[in-house]
Amino acid sequence: MNRTRLICLAAILLGLFLGGCATVQPWERAALADYKMRPDRDPLLGAMSEHIYFSREASSGGRGVGGSGCGCN
């Protein structure tokens, strides 16, 4: 396979992969703002997860970054 064909194939594959990306617009974040999306919605589940993580990794903490929300403001 020559170089030109390789470039073509790479461009097509890149186009296919990038086509799967989508930006969630600020006005489309209703589901992300839902209470069910909060990682800290259940204190007991949170404590259990932390315990499992500590037992497995011998470390804890570092979970201060939120994983949901509407991204408002």
């Binding site: 170089r3 600020p26 209703a30 509407c70 408002c72 403001n73």
Partner: protein, 167 residues
């Protein structure tokens, strides 16, 4: 032109086209799109010759909810001088929108952009975002987000300044 060059040209053209589309949002100093052209649900108040604040909000957005009492105060205070506040909800479902309005009964007009046509056309950068228009419908200021009293004061000052301008 070789095939490689053609691919490069197409790639650059695509990037330029996407940049043009992304930059199509409304800019300060330009006319703001007419609200009547988007099939919004609800009664639009008369905006002719008025200073208009168009606020995009949603019931699921906490800062949006926090802005309502402040906007109600500003609307009550400055309505006689020619201020109209129109809150455009981007809620897709009607029930939470109706519940919220029943509970908080804002002192300003509210309409719903259920199909999210207008908000997508304006390309709102964050929730909430308010657009301040002068008496001729020209966009004069944009406020992204609501940060309590600081935003309310800044907004009120800008509105008063526009109300004092000769039409």
């Amino acid at each position: 032109m070789s095939l490689t060059n053609k691919i490069h040209s197409l790639w650059i053209a695509g990037l330029l086209a996407s940049a043009t589309i992304a930059a199509a949002e409304v800019k300060v100093g330009e006319p703001f799109p007419a609200l009547a052209g988007f099939g919004l649900e609800g009664q639009l108040p008369d905006q002719a010759g008025k200073v208009v604040l168009v606020d995009f909000w949603a019931t699921w957005c906490a800062p949006c909810r926090a802005s309502f009492p402040a906007y109600s105060v500003i609307q009550r205070e400055l309505a006689d001088r020619g201020l109209v506040i129109i809150a455009v909800s981007v809620d897709k479902t009607k029930a939470p929108y109706d519940d919220f309005l029943r509970k908080f009964a804002p002192a300003f007009a509210t309409v719903r952009d259920g199909g999210q046509r207008m908000v997508a056309d304006v390309k709102v950068p964050a929730m909430p975002t308010s657009y301040l228009l002068d008496r001729h419908g020209i966009l004069r200021a944009v406020h992204s987000g609501f940060h309590g009293d600081a935003t309310a004061k800044e907004l009120r000052d800008e509105i008063v300044k526009l109300l004092e301008e000769k039409s």
